[in-house]
C-alpha cells in the first residue's frame, strides 16, 4: 500500500517534466538566427540599413572622418591633445589609442563583409511577396555602391588594401593587399554598373515606375538623400577619377551631377544655409543637400557625442555658452587671415560685419575671434539644435561627404587641369559669388589651380577634405619637394594599425612607416 503510494508520487513528479529536448529549444531574443533569416521584406530592410549604420560607425568611431581627412598638415592646431598634435604633424606612428583606433581598418571591412553578404543573400527575401524585384534591384545597387564607396574611402587612407568581394562566412582567409589601381578599377566598374539602378530621389516622382514608390514605407522627405542616390554614385565616380588623375572623366561625371542636381533637390546654398541648416538632417528641405552623408537624427535616438567635428571644435564662446572652455582643435588666427585674405573682399564665411559700426568679424565660421583660440563653429548642431545653448554637448550633425558646392569646385579643378581655364574660373566664380567674394578673372594671371584649392580650403573647412585636397593639389602641381617625397615614398598613406598586421601576416606595413 505504502509502496504503491510512493510509486504513484514518483511517476507523478516525473511526468511534470515531460519531453526534454523541446524544453531546450530556446531561441535567443537578442539576435536573429541564420535559419529563417533573409526571408522577408523586413530582413532586407534591416540588412540594408545595417550597411549604412556600419559605415557610419566606421567613420564616426573616434571621429575618424576628421582625424583621417582634416587634421594631417591641415589648418587646425591642437590645443592640448597630444594625439591630435601628432596627427597634425604627420607623426602617425605615435602610439596614442586614438591613432591606433583610426588606423585599424576592421570597421571598414565590416561594411565590406556586410555588403558582400547582403549582395549574396538578399535575393532570398523575394520569398516575401512584398519584396519585389524593384526593391531587390535598388537594394543591390545601394549595397554595391556602398561597397565601392568604402573601398574608395580606404584606398585614400591606406593605398593598397585587400580587395574582397565575397562574404565567405566563417572562414577568415589571410589575404595580401591588392594594388590600389585594381581596387579602384573594381570600384569604378561597380559604380558604373550600379548607378543606373539608383534613383535621383527615393520615394520620388517616378513616372516609369522603375523604383519602389514609398520606399520601405517612407516618403521622400523622410529619406532625403540619405540612401545612396544616382548622383551620389556619380560623385563617387568623379572622386575616384580625380584621385587617379583622370580629369576628363571627372569633368564628365561632375557635369552630369550639375545638370541633374535639381532632380535630387540639390541647390547651391547661401552661406547662412550652410552654417545654419546644411548639417542638420532633420531639415526636410535643405537636408537634401547632404548629397552623400551619414545622419544622426535626434528624434530617432541617434544623438551622440562622438562622430561629429563639434566634439573637437566647439567650446564656450561669448555668443554661445558651453561648459567646455577650450576646444580640442582650432584654426589659428594667422592661418585664418591667410585663408580668408582681405583681397577677396568681404567673405560671407569670415569677413567683416559691415552692418555694425565696429566692423567686427562675422561669425559664420568662427566665434571668439578676439581670443587666442578662436572657435570653429561652422558645424554646430548641438542636441538637435534644441536651444539648450550647448550646455549639453551632444550632437546631431551629419557627416557630409560631399555636396553640390564641393562637386562644382571639383569640376572647376578638372577644367583647370584640362586647360579649360576660362570655364574653370567661371565654375569657381559661381561659388565665390555664392560666398559674396569678388570674382577672379582669367586675365588676372591667377593660377586657377591655386585659386580653386584655396576656395576648397575655405568652403570645405571642417568637412574632412583638407588632407585629400593637399594630395591632389600636390599631385597636380608637383612643386613641393617635401610633399613629393611623401607621394613618392607612400607617405601620403597612413600606417596600418599593429593589431591589423598581427592578425594577418600577409599584410606588409606601408614602407614609409616601417
Amino acid at each position: 500500500m505504502n509502496r504503491s503510494w510512493l510509486l504513484l508520487l514518483a511517476t507523478g513528479l516525473l511526468l511534470i517534466l515531460g519531453s526534454c529536448n523541446k524544453q531546450l529549444d530556446i531561441q535567443s531574443s537578442r539576435q536573429a538566427d541564420e535559419a529563417g533569416h533573409w526571408t522577408s521584406y523586413e530582413d532586407a530592410r534591416s540588412g540594408l540599413i545595417g550597411l549604412y549604420g556600419l559605415f557610419r560607425a566606421a567613420v564616426a568611431d573616434n571621429n575618424a572622418h576628421w582625424l583621417l581627412g582634416e587634421l594631417r598638415s591641415g589648418d587646425f592646431k591642437s590645443v592640448s591633445r597630444p594625439d591630435l598634435k601628432a596627427i597634425i604633424d604627420g607623426n602617425l606612428n605615435a602610439s596614442f589609442p586614438a591613432i591606433q583606433s583610426v588606423t585599424n581598418w576592421r570597421r571598414f571591412y565590416a561594411v565590406v563583409n556586410a555588403c558582400n553578404l547582403f549582395i549574396e543573400r538578399v535575393k532570398e527575401c523575394e520569398a516575401d511577396q512584398r519584396y519585389t524585384e524593384s526593391y531587390y534591384k535598388l537594394d543591390i545597387a545601394q549595397a554595391r555602391t556602398l561597397r565601392a564607396f568604402v573601398y574608395f574611402y580606404m584606398v585614400r587612407i591606406w593605398g593598397d588594401v585587400p580587395l574582397i568581394t565575397r562574404s565567405q562566412d566563417g572562414t577568415f582567409e589571410q589575404l595580401p593587399r591588392t594594388k590600389q589601381d585594381a581596387v579602384l578599377s573594381f570600384v569604378e566598374q561597380e559604380l558604373k554598373e550600379a548607378a543606373p539602378y539608383l534613383p535621383y530621389l527615393y520615394s520620388g516622382n517616378d513616372p516609369e515606375q522603375k523604383f519602389p514608390n514609398n520606399y520601405y514605407g517612407n516618403n521622400s522627405a523622410y529619406w532625403l538623400n540619405m540612401p545612396m542616390t544616382r548622383l551620389g554614385a556619380y560623385a563617387l565616380l568623379a572622386h575616384v577619377a580625380a584621385w587617379q588623375g583622370r580629369y576628363v572623366d571627372v569633368a564628365i561625371y561632375t557635369d552630369f551631377i550639375i545638370n541633374n542636381a535639381s532632380k535630387s533637390n540639390l541647390k547651391l546654398l547661401s552661406s547662412d544655409e550652410v552654417v545654419n541648416s546644411l548639417f542638420d538632417a532633420s531639415n526636410t528641405t535643405l537636408g537634401y543637400n547632404q548629397l552623400l552623408g551619414f545622419s544622426f537624427l535626434k528624434t530617432k535616438g541617434e544623438t551622440t557625442t562622438e562622430g561629429h567635428i563639434e566634439e573637437l571644435t566647439l567650446a564656450n564662446t561669448t555668443l554661445y555658452a558651453m561648459s567646455k572652455q577650450m576646444p580640442d582643435i582650432y584654426v589659428p588666427k594667422d592661418v585664418i587671415s591667410v585663408i580668408f585674405p582681405k583681397t577677396n573682399g568681404n567673405d560671407d564665411r569670415f569677413g567683416v560685419d559691415t552692418t555694425t559700426f565696429l566692423k567686427l568679424p562675422t561669425t559664420r565660421y568662427f566665434e571668439n575671434y578676439s581670443s587666442a583660440v578662436p572657435v570653429f563653429k561652422k558645424v554646430r548642431v548641438v542636441d538637435g539644435s534644441a536651444g539648450n545653448r550647448g550646455k549639453f554637448a551632444v550632437f546631431n550633425s551629419s557627416i557630409v561627404f560631399t555636396r553640390l558646392e564641393e562637386i562644382r569646385l571639383l569640376r572647376a579643378e578638372a577644367l583647370a587641369v584640362l586647360g579649360q581655364t576660362n570655364d574653370a574660373f567661371t565654375e569657381l566664380n559661381v561659388i565665390r559669388g555664392q560666398r559674396k567674394i569678388t570674382s577672379v578673372s582669367p586675365a588676372s594671371g591667377a593660377d586657377p589651380i591655386d585659386e580653386i584649392f584655396a576656395e576648397r580650403r575655405r568652403e570645405l573647412m571642417g568637412e574632412g577634405w583638407r588632407w585629400y585636397d593637399l594630395i591632389r593639389y600636390n599631385r597636380i602641381k608637383h612643386n613641393n619637394a617635401a610633399f613629393n617625397e611623401l607621394i613618392d615614398q607612400g607617405g601620403i598613406y597612413w600606417p596600418i594599425a599593429q593589431d591589423v598586421l598581427n592578425r594577418n601576416p600577409k599584410l606588409v606595413q606601408n614602407a614609409y612607416w616601417q
Partner: protein, 980 residues
C-alpha cells in the same frame, strides 16, 4: 520612489501553489500525531537537488572545508565572500572596493579562463547552493549596452550579501570532483554549500543575536593644489616648452586661489565614522511531526567613505512535517531585501550618464565648496534595492531499502534602481534613469535510491536522479536627459500626438532564457566502513548549446580508504589516517544564449563610445556580430577534468590534525574569441579548444596546543593554505599564442600574467640612445624615435623598434599562495580569537601611478579616465620614486603596459581580533539560557605589504589598481549572542 516586490506572473502562480501545498501538508501534520524521530526530520532538510551529498569516511575531518562560523559570525561581514575570505583553503576572494554591497569575486582553486572581461569573470565564479538551491546571479549580458563596464547598470548589488551567518548552520566549500559531479555542470567551478539552520522539534528555542559598532575613519594625508603643483614642477622644469607652460591647468595656475590652494579639509565631509549593526531573532519549535522555524533580521553595513552603506532585511520561514511515518515534507521561504546607498564618485555617475563634461577643473579640496557640491545631491535620487526570495518544497520518502527525494525550488531576485541627478551636476542637464530587472530560476528534481546489504559488511547503494532547471534573466533600462526641470521626473506625453514632450527616452529591454536538464546515476559500494567506492554517471542537456551538441554524458569515480581502521587499528601514534582519491568530468555551461544557434545577426551599429546605437535614419538595422565576434557551428561542450587526492592524518589523540589535498584541474574545449584577419570585419571568431590547467595543494592544520579538557586554558591554532598555479595548455585551432586586446595568451604560460615592456630606467643623454647600425636610425617606439626623457625599454628582439614584440608575460594577478591562519585562546569563559589573512606571490599593475604621472595625457584626453575624484586630493602613494620622464613625449613614457608599474602586492592582514565571554560556561548551574555570549571584535586592523598604494586588496578583477576602491577601514563592534 516606490518600493516593489512584483515577481513575474507565472512566478507568482508558482509561489502561491507552493504555499497552497504547504498548507495542505500542515493540515495533514496536525491530524496525525504519531512521532518521527527528530534527527530524521533534520536529515530531510538536507535534501540535495541531484543525488545525495557524498560523505567521506574520515569523520574527524568533517569540518575541514567548512567555514569556522563561530568565529566569523562575530565579525561585521556583510557578504558571503567576506565570510569565506581567508577561511577555507582553496578559496580566493577579490574585494575590489570596500564599499558595502559592491560586487566581489569568488574563485575556487584558480580560474579556468583568462579574465578578459566581466563576462569571463562571471563565468569563473563558484556556484552557491542555499539549502540545495543553486542561487542565480546577475547575468553580465547587460554590459553589452554599456559604454563603460565599471559598474553593471541597475543596483549592481552583490546578491550574496543576503547570507546572514546567524541563520546558517554550516557553510562548506565543495572541491571534491566526485561531489561536484553529483551537483552537475553548474558546479564546474566548485561550489559553496550553505545549509541554514532548520526547523526542529522542541518546546521552544529562541535565539537573539545583535551587534553594534563603528567603522572607523582612516588616517589619510589630504593635499591641496600646492602639492600637485610641486609634484608637476620637476616635469615642467625639465621638459616643458613655452606653450606647454601656457597650457598649465587653470586650477593650478593661480597660487592665490584659495579654492584649490587653501586648506584641504574635504576629508571631514568625505570620511566619517559609520555605524554598523545587526539584530536578528529566531524562533524554533513544534512537535516531532510538525515543526517550524522563523528567522528575522536587520543588518546595516557601512563604509567610512562617502556615506555608503548597505542595509539588509531578512525573513525566513521553515516548516517541516511528517504526515506519514515514512514521508517527510520540508519547505522554506527565505526573503531578503537589500538597500544600497552608493558612492558619489564622479566617474561612476558619468559612466551611467554616458556623457563626459568638461573636466578641466576638478572638485576642490576645500570643505565649503565640496560641501556645496555635496548638497546638490539632496536633489538627486539614487535608490538601489534588491528583493531576493528563495523557497522550496521537498518531499522525502524512506521505505526500508528504497528512498525517494523530490523537490520543487525557486530562486527569484529583482533589482530596482531609480537615479536622478539634477542640472547642477551635469552642465545644466538633468539625467534620469530607471532600471528594473529580475533573475529567476526554477528547479524540479527527483532522486530515487535503493540500498542493499550483503555479507554483513558490504553495503551497496544505487541512486538515480533527474532534474530540470529553468533560468530567466530580464532587465528593462531607460534613461533620458534634459528634463524640463529638477522637479518633474516623469515623461509628460502630448495628448494629441502621444509623443513625449519633456524627455527623449533611450530604452533598452532585454531578456534571456535558458534551461538545463540532467539525468544522473550514482552507485556506492562500501566495505565495513574501510573502503568506499563511488561512481557517478550523468547526462546533461543545455539550451545554450547548439542542437547537435546539446547533450553530454560524463563519468566520475572516487574511492576512500580508512587506513587507520584497516591496518593501523593497534597503532597508538596515529589516531586517524585515511586516503581518498577521486576523478570527475564536469560539463561547463555557457552563460550566454547567443551561441545556441550558430551564425546570427545582431544589432551592431554602435561603436566604442556609443554601444547602444541601434538605428540608422530612424530604422533598425542588423548585421553579422562584427563587434561581439563570429559564432559558427559545431561548438562542443567545454568540460572540466578534475582530480583530487587527499590524506587525512590525526595525531596525539587527534589534537593535531593535518589534511592535505593535491589537485589537478584541466578545463578543456573552452570557447575563446580568436583574433582573425581584420579584413572580414570581425573583432574575433569564437572557437572552442582553449585548455587551462590548474594544479595545487590545499593544506589544513589544526592543533590543540593546550587542550581544554584538563586545563582552564585552551589554545587552538589553525591554518589553511592553498598553493595554486595555472597554465594555458592549448589554444583553439592549435595556435601557440594569441593577443586579445592588452592580453597575450601563450601556451605553457600563465593565463593571469601581465603583458608588459621591460623598463630599464632612462636615457641620460642622446649618446646613450642606441642607433640601428643598418638603417642609421635611432631606436624607436613603434616608429617614433626615442629621445632623452623617454623611458628606456628593453629591445628584446633587437630590431631597434620597441613594440608589442618586446613585451613579455610577467607576474600574475592571482596569488600563488593564499589562505589564513589564526588561533583561539580560551581561559575559562573567555575566548580570544585572532585571524590573519594572507596572499603571496601576487602582482598588480599600478594604473593609478601611471595616470598620475602621465598627467599630460590624462588631462588632455578629457575622457572617463581623466576624472579627478575628491580623493585626488589625497596622497594614496608616494610617486617620487619613479623616474622623471617627459610626459609630453608622443611615445607616452608613462604608459601603463610596462613593468615600471608592476608592483608586488603580496600581503598579510590581521583581519579580525575578537574577545568573547560566555556566561553559560561560567554559570554552568544556572540554566535559564543555553548560551549568553558577549563579544568585542575588531576587523581590518593592519596590513603588512610591499605594495606602495593604499591597499593591495583594492584591485580590479584583472589585477589593475586604479585607486578607485573605497577603503576597507578598521571597525569595532560589540555584540551579544543569546540562546534561550
Amino acid at each position: 520612489m516606490k518600493i516593489r516586490l512584483l515577481p513575474s506572473r507565472t512566478f507568482q502562480k508558482a509561489i502561491f501553489s507552493a504555499l497552497a501545498i504547504i498548507s495542505v501538508f500542515e493540515v495533514c501534520a496536525q491530524s496525525d500525531t504519531s512521532s518521527v524521530s527528530n534527527t530524521k526530520l533534520k536529515d530531510s532538510s538536507i535534501v540535495v537537488t541531484n543525488g545525495v551529498k557524498l560523505e567521506q569516511l574520515s569523520a574527524n575531518f568533517k569540518g575541514l572545508n567548512q567555514l569556522p562560523l563561530k568565529s566569523v559570525s562575530s565579525q561585521p561581514y556583510i557578504s558571503l565572500q567576506q565570510l569565506l575570505k581567508g577561511n577555507v583553503a582553496g578559496v580566493y576572494v577579490q574585494e575590489p572596493s570596500g564599499e558595502p554591497g559592491t560586487e566581489q569575486n569568488l574563485f575556487i582553486r584558480g580560474i579556468s579562463s583568462p579574465l578578459l572581461s566581466k563576462r569571463e569573470l562571471f563565468d569563473q565564479q563558484a556556484v552557491i547552493f542555499l539549502n540545495g538551491i543553486p542561487l542565480i546571479q546577475d547575468n553580465p549580458f547587460a554590459y553589452e549596452i554599456q559604454r563603460y563596464d565599471f559598474n553593471r547598470i541597475g543596483p549592481a548589488t552583490n546578491l550574496l550579501s543576503t547570507i546572514n551567518p546567524d541563520n546558517i548552520e554550516s557553510i562548506e566549500v565543495i572541491k571534491d570532483p566526485l561531489t561536484l559531479a553529483t551537483l552537475g555542470p553548474i558546479a564546474a567551478n566548485g561550489a559553496i554549500w550553505i545549509t541554514t539552520k532548520n526547523a526542529h522539534s522542541g518546546y521552544r528555542d529562541i535565539s537573539v543575536n545583535s551587534y553594534y559598532g563603528y567603522a572607523l575613519k582612516p588616517n589619510v594625508t589630504p593635499v591641496n593644489a600646492a602639492y600637485e603643483n610641486n609634484f608637476r614642477a620637476p616635469f615642467y622644469d625639465k621638459y616643458a616648452s613655452i606653450s606647454d607652460r601656457l597650457n598649465y591647468p587653470p586650477y593650478l595656475r593661480d597660487s592665490t586661489n584659495a579654492d584649490y590652494y587653501g586648506p584641504a579639509n574635504w576629508g571631514d565631509l568625505y570620511y566619517k565614522n559609520a555605524p554598523l549593526y545587526n539584530m536578528d531573532l529566531s524562533l524554533t519549535g513544534g512537535s516531532d511531526r510538525a515543526n517550524f522555524r522563523f528567522f528575522g533580521g536587520a543588518t546595516k553595513n557601512a563604509n567610512i567613505a562617502d556615506n555608503t552603506s548597505l542595509s539588509r532585511y531578512t525573513g525566513s520561514f521553515f516548516i517541516n512535517a511528517a504526515p506519514l511515518k515514512w514521508l517527510t515534507v520540508s519547505s522554506m521561504i527565505n526573503y531578503n531585501r537589500l538597500q544600497r546607498v552608493r558612492n558619489r564618485n564622479v566617474r561612476d555617475r558619468l559612466a551611467e550618464q554616458r556623457y563626459i563634461p568638461d573636466l578641466t577643473n576638478p572638485l576642490t579640496p576645500n570643505k565649503n565648496l565640496y560641501g556645496s557640491y555635496l548638497s546638490e545631491f539632496d536633489k538627486a535620487i539614487d535608490n538601489n534595492a534588491n528583493n531576493a526570495i528563495q523557497g522550496y518544497l521537498a518531499v522525502s520518502a524512506d521505505l526500508n531499502k528504497f528512498h525517494y527525494n523530490g523537490r520543487l525550488a525557486f530562486d527569484y531576485n529583482e533589482g530596482i534602481r531609480d537615479a536622478f541627478w539634477p542640472t547642477t551636476l551635469l552642465e545644466g542637464n538633468n539625467f534620469v534613469s530607471n532600471y528594473s530587472s529580475y533573475n529567476q530560476r526554477a528547479i524540479g528534481s527527483n532522486t530515487i535510491g535503493y540500498d542493499v546489504r550483503f555479507g554483513g559488511k558490504n553495503k551497496l547503494n544505487f541512486e538515480a536522479g533527474q532534474s530540470f532547471m529553468g533560468d530567466i534573466y530580464k532587465y528593462d533600462y531607460a534613461y533620458a536627459y534634459n528634463g524640463p526641470n529638477d522637479f518633474v521626473k516623469i515623461n509628460v506625453v502630448d495628448p494629441a500626438s502621444l509623443k513625449p514632450t519633456s524627455f527623449m527616452v533611450y530604452y533598452y529591454p532585454a531578456k534571456m532564457r535558458s534551461a538545463l536538464i540532467s539525468f544522473s546515476g550514482k552507485a556506492t559500494y562500501s566495505f565495513d566502513d574501510i573502503f568506499n567506492i563511488n561512481a557517478v554517471v550523468r547526462r546533461d542537456g543545455s539550451s545554450n548549446m547548439q542542437p547537435d551538441n546539446r547533450w553530454m554524458t560524463n563519468y566520475s569515480v572516487g574511492a576512500d580508504w580508512d587506513i587507520k581502521k584497516h591496518l593501523l587499528s593497534s597503532c597508538s601514534v596515529t589516531d586517524a589516517l585515511s586516503l581518498s582519491a577521486s576523478w570527475g568530468r564536469l560539463g561547463k555551461l555557457l552563460s550566454d544564449d547567443r551561441f545556441n544557434a550558430g551564425a546570427q545577426y545582431r544589432v551592431d551599429l554602435g561603436w566604442g563610445s556609443e554601444p547602444g546605437l541601434g538605428s540608422y535614419n530612424g530604422i533598425a538595422g542588423i548585421s553579422r556580430p562584427y563587434t561581439s565576434g563570429w559564432v559558427g557551428y559545431g561548438i562542443p561542450w567545454a568540460y572540466s577534468d578534475q582530480m583530487n587526492v587527499g590524506v587525512r592524518l590525526g595525531l596525539l589523540n587527534n589534537r593535531v590534525r593535518v589534511a592535505a589535498d593535491v589537485y589537478n584541474r584541466d578545463d578543456k574545449d573552452q570557447l575563446l574569441p580568436i583574433p582573425v584577419a581584420s579584413e572580414w570585419g570581425y573583432t574575433g571568431a569564437y572557437q572552442s579548444g582553449m585548455s587551462v590547467n590548474n594544479k595545487g595543494v590545499d593544506l589544513f592544520i589544526t592543533a590543540e596546543l593546550v587542550a581544554a579538557k584538563n586545563h582552564a586554558i585552551s589554545w587552538v591554532g589553525n591554518l589553511n593554505m592553498n598553493y595554486n598555479t595555472n597554465k594555458l595548455t592549448a589554444l583553439p585551432g592549435g595556435l601557440n599564442e594569441l593577443v586579445i586586446g592588452n592580453n597575450k595568451l601563450v601556451v605553457g604560460k600563465r593565463i593571469d600574467a601581465f603583458w608588459l615592456l621591460d623598463n630599464l630606467g632612462d636615457y641620460k643623454s642622446d649618446a646613450e640612445i642606441p642607433v640601428d647600425p643598418l638603417k642609421g636610425r635611432r631606436i624607436s617606439y613603434q616608429g617614433t624615435p626615442i629621445q632623452v626623457g623617454d623611458a628606456r625599454w628593453r629591445d628584446i628582439n633587437g630590431d631597434y623598434v620597441i613594440n608589442d614584440n618586446d613585451k613579455t608575460l610577467q607576474g600574475n594577478y592571482l596569488p600563488k599562495v593564499s589562505g589564513g591562519f589564526g588561533s583561539t585562546l580560551g581561559y575559562k569563559a573567555f575566548s580570544l580569537d585572532v585571524q590573519f589573512y594572507v596572499a603571496l606571490g601576487r602582482k598588480v599593475l599600478n594604473q593609478y601611478a601611471s595616470s598620475r604621472l602621465d598627467f599630460i595625457n590624462t588631462d588632455a584626453n578629457n575622457d572617463i579616465n581623466s576624472i579627478k575624484e575628491i580623493t585626488f586630493w589625497e596622497q594614496k602613494m608616494d610617486l617620487s620614486s619613479y623616474p622623471v620622464y617627459n610626459p609630453w613625449s608622443s611615445v607616452v613614457p608613462y604608459r601603463v603596459d610596462q613593468n615600471l608599474f608592476l608592483d608586488d602586492a603580496s600581503f598579510l592582514k590581521l583581519r579580525s581580533l575578537s574577545l568573547s565571554y560566555d556566561f553559560a560556561k561560567s554559570m554552568s548551574k544556572h540554566k535559564s539560557f543555553r548560551k549568553l555570549e558577549l563579544y568585542l571584535s575588531a576587523t581590518n586592523l593592519f596590513t603588512i605589504t610591499p605594495f606602495k598604494g593604499d591597499d593591495p586588496e583594492l584591485v580590479n578583477y584583472n589585477g589593475i589598481y586604479t585607486g578607485y576602491g573605497l577603503p576597507m577601514s578598521p571597525s569595532v563592534i560589540t555584540g551579544v549572542k543569546l540562546n534561550l
